[in-house]
Symmetry: C2
Subunit: 467 residues, 2 copies
């Protein structure tokens, strides 16, 4: 709806005058996030200091039916953190405190604007960490990663965000401040509203506090790199490791284009035939690590002759950092000025990796489109990075390939989004997934649940749902 | 409502004639579950073979507004699996197949009637297991333990059921067959309906299939028993272990009455002063276990002089089995014929254990009521087993004590139910918890979510919600 000056004044007062951006030049940065999905410049940007302000603002927005999008780090890759309507953006970055650490009880309490790397820097001092670790962890926040159920490199061992949130404070679209879950490691007390909030991409309300589980740092680990000509063998090697009952700490793969984009930072000798590299971290105690690593080397050697093990922490840290920067590095590989790189994100069970990877590779080759593959192969997560011209034809091509990759994932018992969310980029793909599963009613239930939290449909309208 | 013969015939046809119990003597066993909550003899018991039959039956029940309670092992300790109305019971025990095992992808697919011990017997052959392990695992099922988000001895390390369910097939109250989640270890694809089903105690519909995560068996572990005179020291010792960054495989405590009830099975020397025993399992690799155990022994010795370490697998298995049988053993300790033992179930963060245990002990002593304490202290879970006469006065006393214990847990950042669910036993306590947290609107949201799945409120009416 049109937001007149009286309403704007009311909202400004509710938020506190100092917490509002209204000038065009201040609002322009909010038109985009890390995705290529088009957004709009919002009417207002609210940068609140506490949940009371958010509650007051949301009450007004529900009353006047004003669209609201929540944003923190702005690192969404699917358009979750931009608005597509004439509405406001609530930026939670001013709420960036770590409120409490309790080692014995294994939790830390954070505000939504705490960035993941800052949180882990803090926890590491105590010998602990918060496992979810998306590549964007330097910029992405507790609030944003909860909103997309973010995963990252360590999810193969530790699972995604949803396994690490004990409770929240949350403001519903109607301005009700609720607490969900709490400080205990388990509870059996009604429906799991915490879990409902995780992955909801700002469509239900605004997260204002999170109680996160923490984990002792792994004692010691080493890294096994291995090299392949055929993508099928990469998937087979990983499956064989998991079949042997071993769950790596991380398990990443990357294709030659990705390797080349970060080659100067890898500082290792890569065999000439290499089209793909697999990187597996194995952890254990000081006394047992060597034996464990030798065991995994032996398994992997059934699929390639070249295996390189690294135990030096500094080298491992550098490679880890390079891998996390792979998407940014690929952006620098663009050949044309108007080229963009769209990062895909699908997942299949580990046993389905060899066949799925092969099908994706075939689809890419057939379409003669420039694609670079990497991903958290340990949990079956494949990122296909599609290079395309930012034109109508270019984007149509991308959409076609995304659909082919998504359908391959669905055929192999997978999902159209592993860790990036749905946003506006994938709502059609999500619809297709449920259609293929003969379960469109699941989406219907989700829509009705949204209406329970957000009866006027003001929160991040147009995200997740296709129609 | 009154169910007339025409409707009964329709339901019988929908379920399949061979899947219906209608004679009184066949229905009487369904009047009770493992709790002391009063139930009713149902009009009909349906024992379906597949989700289509369940769908047809639920469509009729929604149409005619007939109350439905789901039941499998019948081991509910809070009255979740009995009906309080003139309705039907759906017993899922005929759906008891293990449908698929996929080691590389770390999942097993089960029907709801599979019993947990049978599932683990099957998985152990492959070197894997399904971690949730409630004391009733011999009788309790995949479906029932999902419905209460069951925990058990291993939850301190592995978390409760909610961390182990990847996806489901589920029939809503209106008879819609949906799929939630799927076979992958992570997904970021709309609201987490799987998580919503876990812990919903049969109030949303009927679970007909579950995709469960599995875990490699721990390599090697040992058990440290320690003995105390003061309950405060038990909590302090456990907190100290966790503060040192160690997460035990299991960590149990029991009071003298519990010890005495299983003393003949323990076969260990217990110091004379003992009022409480702590039992901590530590796991590691073959090469490193000894060092780890010594480290934990050292920490615990700050709180007691008597520490006994057991490494022999057979002895450990016997003690584990005895601990799992503690509640049954206590039932045999009843002195009077009309005495019952009501098992409590609250949880607090580990750091709050010393103070909470002390307060519970004080409340018990003040009320001069016969109580035996044990619990999964590693995750803060305390079971107070209350001996009471099965009379109005006796039960009022129990209710009063349960409320005092619940309020102690709430004061210490805890929850009124850790792993047994709410049922009809604890719906007032749950209400009090949310009231104390100033978050009654959370319960309002839950009720509205129930209406999304179950618009006629036919599923397990009266459970979870107080009003």
């Amino acid at each position: 709806m049109n937001i007149n000056n009286d309403i704007l004044n009311e909202i400004r007062q509710a938020a506190g005058e100092n917490n509002v951006l209204q000038n065009l030049e201040e609002k322009i940065p909010y038109k985009n996030d890390a995705s290529y999905m088009p957004g709009r410049i919002p009417e207002l940007v609210i940068i609140p200091e506490n949940s009371d302000q958010i509650s007051r603002v949301l009450k007004l927005c529900t009353k006047y039916k004003i669209d609201v999008t929540v944003r923190s780090g702005g690192t969404s890759l699917t358009g979750s953190s931009v608005t597509n309507y004439n509405g406001i953006i609530i930026n939670t970055m001013k709420m960036d405190k770590i409120l409490e650490l309790n080692i014995a009880s294994r939790y830390v309490v954070c505000q939504p604007g705490v960035r993941l790397d800052n949180l882990n820097e803090y926890l590491n001092k105590y010998g602990f960490f918060y496992p979810p670790d998306p590549a964007s962890s330097k910029a992405s926040t507790v609030g944003g990663t909860i909103s997309t159920n973010a995963g990252g490199l360590r999810a193969v061992r530790y699972g995604a965000t949803k396994e690490w949130v004990l409770g929240t404070e949350f403001v519903t679209a109607t301005g009700e401040i609720i607490r969900t879950g709490e400080y205990t490691l388990k509870r059996s007390a009604g429906y799991d509203l915490t879990a409902l909030i995780i992955g909801s991409e700002g469509t239900l309300g605004v997260l204002t506090e999170a109680i996160l589980k923490i984990e002792p740092l792994p004692e010691k680990y080493g890294r096994i790199l291995s090299f392949y000509n055929d993508i099928y063998d990469v998937g087979s090697a990983l499956s064989a490791v998991k079949n042997a009952g071993i769950t790596p700490l991380i398990a990443e793969f990357m294709d030659l284009k990705t390797i080349n984009s970060i080659r100067d930072k890898l500082n290792i000798k890569i065999p000439d035939y290499t089209q793909f590299m697999l990187m597996v971290d194995i952890d254990s105690t000081e006394a047992s690590l060597k034996g464990k690593i030798e065991n995994v080397e032996k398994i992997i050697k059934n699929y390639t002759k070249d295996v390189l093990t690294i135990m030096d922490q500094k080298t491992m840290d550098e490679i880890y950092k390079a891998r996390k920067g792979a998407y940014s590095a690929l952006l620098n590989q663009r050949e044309k000025k108007n080229e963009i790189v769209i990062i895909g994100d699908v997942i299949v069970p580990a046993s389905e990796l060899p066949a799925t990877l092969k099908e994706i590779k075939n689809a890419v080759d057939k379409m003669k489109i420039n694609v670079s593959l990497f991903g958290h192969i340990g949990d079956g997560n494949i990122h296909a990075n599609i290079f395309a011209e930012n034109t109508k034809t270019g984007l149509e091509k991308v959409e076609k390939l995304q659909m082919e990759i998504a359908m391959a994932a669905i055929r192999h018992k997978g999902c159209v989004s592993a860790e990036h969310g749905i946003g506006t980029e994938k709502n059609k793909l999500l619809y297709e997934e449920y259609k293929e599963r003969n379960s469109l009613y699941s989406l219907e239930l989700m829509k009705r649940i949204k209406a329970v939290f957000d009866p006027e449909n003001i929160m991040n309208r147009g995200k997740i749902f296709y129609d």
